[in-house]
C-alpha cells in the first residue's frame, strides 16, 4: 500500500502479527480484527492479558469491540479527522517522541516557500490545477514508496507537486570534488517551514470538538484514546495500530493510512517491538499478489510497468525515470535487468536492451474498474477470471454483470459454480441474447496442489499437495502453464515481431515427478526457483538479491523474494521450525527474511536499544555489526555514527542513523513530497456519498478522486434527502467469498444476507427484526433480513444532528448454500486516485420494509447510444478527463 510505502519505504505491514503481543496499547481502526483475522487476534488478546489497552474505533460495535477495553463509535468516512485530531493533541501536549522524530523522520526537513497548505487554500494544496490533464501511468509506482523522485511532476491528475518539494542547500561533496545539494533541515524543529511546523498548522483545527461534530465520537472517548496512545509510547512502551480494508476502501483511503503512519512516527512506534502498523490483508495471498503482482501497473518486486506517459520507451529511459539516486532503490537497474532475463532468457541481451520492448506499455489506468467500464462499452473481448467472483463482489455489480454480456468469451477457474461463471443465467438475464462463450475450468483447492502463499506480514509459506484434485480439477498453475504451451505452439511459425515475447518467453517448468509430468502438471518449485533468481551461466541459485547484477549475468523473477530458494535443495517457505518470538526458521519473510521492517529504529541513533524492555536490534560494539532478534533492516556493518556522504549514490548517501533504507533520505516521511496524487499530508474530505458538507474546508471531496459520470453509474450526491442514512459494508468471520458459501458447516452459521439496523431507526421505519428489508442507493437496490441491534448506535454530529448507520455484510451473492443479494449492487464506481480502490466502506442509502422487486432487465441494459456513450463514457475527476484505458 502506498500509504505505508510512501511513509516508510515498503508497502507491507511494518511488523508481524506475533509481535502484537508485545504492545502496550493497540488501536484497531478500519479493521474488524477479531472477526476477520480471529487467529491473529489471539496476539491482541495476549497483549490484553499482559495489561495492554485495546481500543476499537469503528462505526459498528463488533465482536472486536466486545473484546476491546474501549469501543469508540465513529461515523464512517471520517477517520482522518479522528486521527488528525490525535496528531494535533500529541503535538499540542508535547507528547511526541522527540529524539525519534528528530532523527528518524523528515520532520526537520524544510519546505520551499512555494508550498501552501489546505488551511490556506480552502482544502486544496498548492499546485492544484483545475484543468490539469494528468499524464501519469495510472498508479504505477504508487504501491512502493521508494519512488519519491524529487522535482518530478506528479503523475496524478490535478496536482503539480513542484511546490511540495524540500528546500535544498549546497554542501561540499563527500569526496571533496565540488558541492552537492542536500535537503535543508532544522533539527530544532522550529523553522516555520519545516515539516514539523507545517504539520502543526495543518492539523490545528482538528480538535476534540471537531471530532465530536464530524465523527460523532463523544469527546471523552476521544481524549481517552489520545491519552492511551501517548502514555503507551516512548522509550519504555510501544503502541501498535492495526487496520484493514475499513481504511482502504475510501476515496481518500491511502491518506487514512498516511495519517496513522504520521501518528506512529510522531510517537516513535515504527520499527520497534510492540509498535508499527499492522496491515491486515484479506485474502490468503493478497500480499503475494501485490509483491509478485497480477496488478496492471506493477512488475514483480514493485518495479513499475513502463508507461508511455513517462516516455519509458527503452530500458535506459525506464531506468532513468525509476531508479533513485539515493537509498536502496539505486539498485533498481539490477532488479529490472534480472527480471527481463528471467522472462526472456537467452533472447534478452545487452544489445536488445534485455528485450525491454517485449513488455507492453501502459496508456492509462487499466485497473479493475476502468476495465469493467471498458468492457461495458464493448472494448474488452476476452476475460480470464481466476478464483474471483466480480459478479458478486464487484462494484456496481449489475454494471459489471451487464458488461460481461458484451464479452466474446470468458474463462472462469474456480472450484464451485460462481455468480460470475453463470452470469448469463442470473436473475433477470436472458441467455438467448447473450453471445458470450463461457468456459468453466474446475480448479484444485489449496489441499490439492503445491504452492506458496504470502501472508499479511510478508511471510512466505509453502503448502504441499495432500490429495489428488477432485475429478477433472487442475491447479491454476497447470492451466496457465498449459495455456502458455499451447500459445507457443499457435505462434510457432510466426515471424511477426509482436509474437516474439511469446516465443522467447522461458517456459521450462516441467514437473520433477514423472506421474505429475504425464498429467501436464508443472513444477511450482521450478517457478519459485526462477522467482528467487539464478546465475545465467551456471544455473545456480543466487542466495539473495544482493547478488543480482545489472549486466545480464543474473536472472530473477522477483527480487524481493530472492533468498527463498538459495540453492536447488532449499525452499525456505517450507521451513517449519518455530521459536517463541521471531521464528526465523518458520517460512521466509521478505525482504531477506526480516520479520520486522525498519528495525534499525528499535535502537537509538547511537545504536543502543531505546530501553531494555523494547530491545530488538542493536549495534554490537565488539562485533562491529548490527545484531538482535531479527535480521537487521540495515547494512550489517554500517556503524551508527557513519555520516551521510553528500553527493554519494545509493546507501552511502544515508548516515548510520537513517533507519528507513528504502527512502531517498533514509527517514520516515511525515510529509510526502511527491508520489501521492492527493496531497503531501492527509486532509479530511467527505466521502463521495455523504450526508453532510465538509465541516473543515470548502472542498467537499477528494479533489482528484476518479468518478464515472454516466447513466449506468448514478451517484447519490451530497446531503440528498432520498438517501438519509449512512451505509457501511464489512465481512463476517464465517464467510469468505464463494468458497465458504457452499460449505454446510459455514453456511449454517451465517446463512443469509442481513442488514444491521439500530433500534431507533427500526422503529422509525417500521422494520422488524428478522423481517425482509430493501436497501436502495442510486445504483441499485437489494433485499436483506433485518438484524435490529443496539450495537449499532446513531451518532450525534454538529448542531445536535443525529445520523443513523446501517451495516451490510459483503459476503453474499445469489449462489451458494448461504446466499442473498450482493451488497456490491449498491456501490457506485468511484476510485481513490492513488491506487484505484473504490469506496464501499461509506455510502448513503435508504431503507424500507419488505422485499425488493424482481430484477428486471435493468437500466444498464438499455443501450446508451454510441455517440452519447463516447461523451459520457470517459471517467472524469470532477469534470476533468481522467486517463481511462481507452481513448
Amino acid at each position: 500500500m502506498p500509504g505505508l510505502g510512501t511513509s516508510f519505504g515498503r508497502g507491507g505491514a511494518t511488523t508481524f502479527v506475533q509481535d502484537l503481543k508485545n504492545s502496550d496499547c493497540i488501536l484497531i481502526e478500519g479493521s474488524n480484527f477479531a472477526e476477520c483475522h480471529p487467529v491473529a487476534f489471539r496476539f491482541v488478546m495476549q497483549a490484553k492479558e499482559r495489561g495492554a489497552k485495546i481500543i476499537h474505533v469503528d462505526p459498528r460495535f463488533t465482536r472486536t469491540s466486545a473484546l476491546a477495553d474501549t469501543y469508540v463509535p465513529i461515523r464512517s468516512g471520517t477517520d482522518i479527522v479522528f486521527l488528525g485530531a490525535i496528531i494535533n493533541w500529541v503535538l499540542r501536549n508535547e507528547r511526541y517522541f522527540k529524539e525519534y522524530v528528530q532523527h528518524y523522520t523528515n520532520a526537520s526537513s524544510i519546505l520551499t516557500e512555494e508550498f501552501r497548505d489546505t488551511e490556506d487554500l480552502e482544502g486544496l494544496f498548492s499546485g492544484f490545477n483545475e484543468s490539469a490533464r494528468s499524464g501519469g501511468g495510472g498508479s504505477a509506482q504508487s504501491h512502493e514508496g521508494a519512488s519519491q523522485s524529487r522535482g518530478e511532476a506528479a503523475p496524478g491528475g490535478g496536482y503539480d507537486t513542484q511546490s511540495w518539494q524540500f528546500e535544498e542547500e549546497e554542501v561540499p561533496r563527500f569526496d571533496g570534488t565540488g558541492t552537492a545539494s542536500v535537503v535543508r533541515r532544522d533539527p530544532s524543529l522550529q523553522h516555520e517551514r519545516c515539516v514539523f511546523q507545517v504539520l502543526r498548522r495543518h492539523f490545528a483545527r482538528y480538535d476534540a470538538q471537531m471530532v465530536q461534530d464530524v465523527c460523532g465520537t463523544p469527546r471523552a472517548l476521544f481524549e481517552e484514546v489520545c491519552e492511551a496512545l501517548a502514555s503507551n509510547s516512548g522509550r519504555e512502551r510501544t503502541a501498535a495500530i492495526a487496520y484493514a480494508v475499513g481504511w482502504t476502501q475510501h476515496t481518500v483511503g491511502v491518506q487514512y493510512i498516511r495519517t496513522a503512519a504520521i501518528l506512529q512516527l510522531l510517537l516513535g512506534n515504527v520499527g520497534r517491538p510492540g509498535g508499527g502498523i499492522m496491515a491486515l490483508r484479506g485474502h490468503a495471498n493478497i500480499q503475494g499478489a501485490t509483491d509478485i503482482p497480477t496488478l496492471y501497473d506493477l512488475l514483480p518486486g514493485y518495479l513499475p510497468m513502463p508507461a508511455i506517459q513517462r516516455d519509458e520507451q527503452d530500458l535506459a529511459s525506464y531506468l532513468k525515470s525509476n531508479a533513485k539516486p539515493t537509498g536502496w532503490w539505486a539498485n533498481l537497474p539490477k532488479y529490472m535487468v534480472s527480471l527481463l532475463k528471467a522472462f526472456y532468457g537467452d533472447a534478452a541481451t545487452k544489445e536488445n536492451g534485455y528485450c525491454f520492448d517485449y513488455l507492453p506499455q501502459l496508456t492509462g489506468d487499466h485497473s479493475m474498474i476502468p476495465t469493467q467500464v471498458a468492457m461495458k462499452d464493448g472494448e474488452v473481448k476476452g476475460y480470464f477470471v481466476i478464483g474471483q467472483n466480480p459478479a458478486a463482489s464487484g462494484l456496481n455489480a449489475e454494471l459489471g454483470r451487464a458488461a460481461m454480456e458484451r464479452l466474446e468469451w470468458m474463462v472462469n477457474l474456480d472450484s464451485y459454480e460462481t455468480d460470475t461463471a453463470s452470469f448469463w443465467r442470473r436473475e433477470g438475464a436472458d441467455p438467448a441474447k447473450i453471445p458470450t462463450e463461457c468456459f468453466f475450468i474446475p480448479a484444485a483447492t489449496v489441499l490439492e496442489k503445491d504452492g506458496t502463499l504470502t501472508n499479511t506480514n510478508r511471510l512466505l509459506q509453502f503448502h504441499e499437495k495432500a490429495v489428488e484434485p477432485a475429478g477433472a480439477s487442475r491447479s491454476d498453475l497447470s492451466f496457465i502453464y498449459q495455456l502458455g504451451l499451447r500459445l507457443k505452439e499457435c505462434y510457432k511459425t510466426s515471424t511477426d515481431p509482436k509474437d516474439r515475447p511469446i516465443l522467447d518467453m522461458t517456459w521450462a517448468y516441467a514437473h520433477e515427478d514423472e506421474r505429475e509430468r504425464s498429467r501436464g502438471e508443472p513444477s511450482a518449485l521450478a517457478v519459485m526457483q526462477e522467482i528467487n533468481g539464478y546465475r545465467v551461466s551456471s544455473g545456480e541459485q543466487v542466495s539473495g538479491f544482493t547478488e543480482l547484477q545489472e549486466d545480464g549475468s543474473t536472472a530473477c523473477g522477483g527480487w524481493i523474494y530472492s533468498g527463498v530458494c538459495p540453492d536447488k535443495q532449499t525452499h525456505r517457505a517450507r521451513n517449519r521450525e518455530a521459536d517463541d518470538y521471531t521464528s526465523p526458521d518458520w517460512g521466509f519473510s521478505w525482504p531477506a527474511n526480516r520479520r520486522m521492517l525498519y528495525n534499525r529504529a528499535s535502537a537509538d541513533p547511537a545504536g543502543k536499544p531505546w530501553s531494555e524492555a523494547k530491545k530488538y536490534v542493536w549495534w554490537d560494539e565488539r562485533g562491529q555489526e548490527w545484531t538482535g532478534y531479527d535480521v537487521p533492516d540495515f547494512p550489517l556493518t554500517k556503524a551508527p555514527d557513519t555520516p551521510a556522504k553528500p553527493g554519494a549514490t545509493g546507501m552511502d548517501a544515508h548516515s548510520g542513523s537513517d533507519p528507513f533504507i528504502m527512502q531517498l533520505d533514509g527517514r520516515g516521511a511525515i510529509f510526502v513530497s511527491s508520489t501521492l496524487k492527493d496531497g503531501p499530508l492527509p486532509t479530511h474530505y467527505e466521502p463521495l456519498n455523504s450526508l453532510v458538507p465538509n465541516a473543515l474546508y470548502k472542498q467537499q471531496h477528494n479533489p482528484v478522486m476518479c468518478e464515472w459520470k454516466r447513466r449506468d453509474n448514478p451517484y447519490n450526491g451530497v446531503a440528498n434527502e432520498d438517501y438519509p442514512y449512512i451505509l457501511t459494508t464489512y465481512r463476517l468471520t464465517e464467510h469468505s467469498g464463494i468458497m465458504t458459501k457452499y460449505v454446510p458447516w459455514l453456511a449454517e452459521l451465517q446463512p443469509a444476507l442481513f442488514a444491521e439496523i439500530d433500534p431507533e431507526l427500526a422503529v422509525a421505519r417500521n422494520l422488524k427484526n428478522g423481517d425482509w428489508v430493501t436497501i436502495r442507493t442510486a445504483v441499485g437496490e437489494i433485499e436483506a433480513r433485518a438484524l435490529v441491534s443496539g450495537r449499532i448506535q446513531p451518532l450525534r454530529l454538529a448542531k445536535g444532528r443525529w445520523v443513523h448507520q446501517i451495516g451490510l455484510p459483503y459476503n453474499y451473492a445469489p449462489l451458494g448454500l448461504a446466499h442473498g443479494d450482493s451488497s456490491g449492487d449498491l456501490v457506485p464506481l468511484v476510485m481513490d486516485p492513488n491506487v484505484s480502490i473504490h469506496e464501499a466502506k461509506t455510502l448513503t442509502c435508504n431503507i424500507r420494509a419488505g422485499r425488493r422487486n424482481k430484477r428486471k432487465r435493468s437500466h444498464v441494459d438499455e443501450d446508451v447510444p454510441a455517440a452519447q456513450r463516447s461523451q459520457e463514457g470517459a471517467p472524469t475527476a470532477h469534470g476533468r478527463d481522467f486517463p481511462g484505458p481507452q481513448r
Binding site: 477479531a34 488478546m45 465482536r63 469501543y71 468471520t733 458447516w745 459455514l746 428478522g770 438484524l787 448454500l817
Partner: protein, 282 residues
C-alpha cells in the same frame, strides 16, 4: 485422572471455530440454513448434531447519566457439561451412555437405540436425537452432506433411525493422545482442555485475576454443591448464568425418584386395599 473443558467466556470472540472444528472432526451435518435474527447466532442451541454452540447475548444500556451507550456483547461456547452425576447416563436404559476412563460421559452410538429418555433427563438441555445414515462398515455415520433440497441435489442417503448425540469430548482423539477438536481450534484459548484438577486451579486463579481488574467473574460448575456434582466442562462467567442460557442451579432428575416411587407405592397400596375391600365383600 478426569479430563474436561474450562471455557473462559472472557476470552471468547464468538468466531464459532469450535462449532465447525467439532463438526469436521466428528463428521456431523449442518442443522439447516435458517436466518434467526438472534444476534449472530443462527444455530441457536446445542443439538444432536451441534456439539459446541456459541451463544451471543447483547445488552445495551442507555442511561441519561452515561455519556454514551454502554454496550456489552457476551459470547460463550456451550458444550455438554459431562456432569459428575449425569442425568443422561443414569437415565439411559441400554447402557449406551457410559463414563469412560477419562471421566467423560460418552454415548456409544452402536449401543444406543434411540429411546430418547436421555433427552429430558439432561438438566442443561444438551442431548438430543438425530437421524443417522448407514456407513460402509455398518457403523453409524452422520449425514455430512445434508444440503438444502431446493438448492442442491440431495445426496442419496438411507436413514437408519435415530440416535442420541452430544459431545464425546473427542473420546477417540483422547484415546490417541490428541486434544479435542474444539479446544484445539479455539483461536483465543477461551476453551481449554486438560486435567480437571489443574483446570479448576487455573480457573480459580483467573477469577482472582479478573476480580482484581474489577471484572465480576465467577465460575460455574466448580464449587457449587449441586446434585449433578461438579461439571466436567465448567465455565467462567461475567454475568448471570441465564445470560449464557445456563440454569442457575441445575438439578439432577433422579433426585425426584424417591418421591415419585413413594407416590406410586402409596397409590398402589391404597388402590389394592380398596380393591380388596370391594372384591371380598359379597
Amino acid at each position: 485422572m478426569s479430563t474436561g473443558f474450562f471455557t473462559d467466556t472472557t476470552l471468547c470472540i464468538g468466531c464459532k471455530a469450535c462449532e465447525v472444528a467439532c463438526k469436521q472432526w466428528n463428521e456431523l451435518p449442518s442443522d439447516g440454513f435458517e436466518f434467526t435474527g438472534e444476534s449472530y447466532d443462527n444455530t441457536t442451541e446445542l443439538s444432536a448434531t451441534t456439539w459446541r454452540h456459541v451463544s451471543f447475548s447483547e445488552k445495551v444500556e442507555r442511561k441519561p447519566e452515561l455519556p454514551y451507550p454502554q454496550t456489552r456483547w457476551l459470547m460463550s461456547s456451550d458444550v455438554c457439561k459431562h456432569c459428575t452425576h449425569a442425568g443422561c447416563l443414569e437415565a439411559c436404559p441400554t447402557g449406551a451412555i457410559i463414563r469412560n476412563e477419562f471421566g467423560n460421559v460418552y454415548i456409544q452410538p452402536d449401543v444406543c437405540n434411540g429411546c430418547g429418555y436421555c433427552v429430558p433427563a439432561c438438566p442443561f438441555g444438551v442431548v438430543d436425537l438425530m437421524q443417522m445414515v448407514g456407513g460402509k462398515d455398518g457403523d453409524p455415520k452422520y449425514n455430512t452432506n445434508v444440503l438444502r433440497a431446493d438448492r442442491m441435489e440431495h445426496t442419496a442417503v438411507q436413514a437408519i433411525g435415530g440416535i442420541a448425540g452430544k459431545c464425546t469430548l473427542c473420546y477417540d482423539r483422547q484415546r490417541s493422545d490428541l486434544e479435542p477438536a474444539c479446544s484445539k481450534a479455539c483461536p483465543t484459548e477461551s476453551i481449554q482442555f486438560g486435567d480437571l484438577d489443574e483446570l479448576r486451579e487455573r480457573a480459580r486463579k483467573r477469577v482472582e485475576q479478573l476480580q482484581g481488574r474489577q471484572v465480576q467473574a465467577r465460575l460455574y460448575g466448580v464449587d457449587e454443591n449441586w446434585s449433578v456434582g461438579t461439571l466436567g466442562a465448567f465455565f467462567l462467567l461475567t454475568d448471570a448464568p441465564a445470560e449464557y442460557d445456563l440454569p442457575e442451579r441445575p438439578v439432577l432428575p433422579s433426585t425426584h425418584q424417591p418421591a415419585a416411587y413413594a407416590s406410586a407405592a402409596v397409590a398402589a397400596t391404597a388402590l389394592f386395599l380398596i380393591g380388596s375391600l370391594i372384591f371380598t365383600r359379597s
